[in-house]
């Protein structure tokens, strides 16, 4: 597993990037077959709030929960130090404030690219929590960069625009506005979340070892899509 340590260190108010790309998603296509033939599913979207996704699921008669975990992970109150004195995030506090749901609540969880960009200290606890909030037989979709990705791989948000089509929008973060020496307000725009690591297949299988099954879909854009069943 390749690690790219560090965080963006910026105030986390996502600003909508102008550029949008589309990509076909085999994992999404497989999930769509399920939710288009079922009723009243309970879906958890862990990406940035997406009006398109909310519209998509509510129009199909499902209930959707939206929780932007990546933004939540940048809460300064999570910062602490471990025994070696290194800065780490408090995963207990994170899970006390986020992903708080009754057990076996969701039929589908959309992780998108969360594991690739989430702080190291939160990845396993979050996956463990997701296992518990998924119903037996429930499915989770996650995207992982392949080894060709570098630390500058941009973080995207994903909007469902078709049965198996996603619109990808680069996330750009805005620094907190500060008043400069002349009194003018300065707002620096910085690049989005930083890729923390690249998982190989074995690491992905280990990460989801408590799940019943795992399926990989490899795409041309060096993204591995993973569909796991609880």
């Amino acid at each position: 597993m390749k690690l790219f340590r560090g965080s963006s260190g910026t105030e986390t108010i996502p600003v909508q990037g102008a550029q949008k790309l589309t990509r076909r998603s085999s994992g999404l296509g497989e999930l769509s077959r399920m939710w288009e033939s079922a009723e009243d599913l309970c879906i958890l979207d862990l990406g940035s709030t997406s009006p398109a996704n909310i519209r998509h699921f509510t129009e199909h008669g499902h209930r959707i929960y939206s929780e932007d975990l990546l933004t939540a992970s940048t809460d300064p109150e999570l910062l602490g130090k471990n025994e070696e004195g290194s800065v780490v995030l408090d995963s207990r506090k994170f899970l006390a404030d986020n992903l708080v749901y009754p057990a076996a609540r969701f039929d589908v969880v959309l992780c998108w690219n969360l594991p690739d960009y989430l702080d190291e200290s939160l990845v396993k606890p979050v996956v463990g929590r997701l296992w518990s909030v998924l119903k037996p037989g429930g499915m989770l979709l996650a995207f992982f960069h392949t080894r060709d990705a570098g630390p500058d791989s941009p973080c995207h948000r994903f909007h469902i625009v078709g049965t198996d089509v996603l619109e990808m929008q680069k996330i750009v973060l805005r620094r907190e506005a500060r008043r400069g020496p002349t009194g003018a307000i300065h707002t620096a725009i910085s690049e989005g979340f930083q890729l923390q690591r690249v998982f190989n297949n074995r690491h992905i299988e280990t990460l989801f070892r408590d799940f019943a099954s795992i399926k990989f879909f490899l795409a041309r854009d060096n993204i591995r899509e993973v569909l796991v069943v609880r």
């Binding site: 909508q16 709030t49 009006p51 909310i54 519209r55 509510t58 008669g61 209930r63 959707i64 929960y65 939206s66 929780e67 932007d68 933004t71 939540a72």
Partner: protein, 115 residues
């Protein structure tokens, strides 16, 4: 968007006002200050202005959020989250409109009433 001009049928809570308790009424309400408690406006609309900070469960016909709202929303007609909205709570309504840039942490449940 600036605060609406005051007139008949629209109550306003200004930017500097803090209210704690149960708010209910039979007219539309514009909140640009702080409200903590419950808001019940059956048959009328609630607008949370850009400076508004509401920590309350809300029941109304329509709800428009431009500021911050922490609490569940039950709207018999429509909910609108503008791009500056920050909403933490579950939303139950007939119709919903969410602008790009709005933040929601919670559930969206659409229920259609039979005509």
């Amino acid at each position: 968007m600036s605060a609406p001009a005051s007139g008949l049928g629209l109550a306003q809570i200004g930017k500097s006002v803090i209210v704690k308790g149960e708010l209910s009424g039979s007219e539309d309400l514009y909140v640009d200050g702080q409200v903590e408690g419950t808001i019940a406006l059956k048959g009328n609309s609630l607008t949370v202005g850009p400076n508004g900070q509401v920590k309350a469960s809300v029941e109304a016909k329509g709800v428009v959020v431009q500021g911050k709202l922490e609490g569940n929303i039950q709207a018999s007609d429509r909910v609108e989250l503008r791009k500056s909205a920050i909403v933490t709570g579950d939303i139950s309504t007939q119709r919903i409109s969410i602008e790009e840039g709005a933040y929601l942490k919670g559930k969206v449940d659409i229920h259609k009433t039979d005509k």
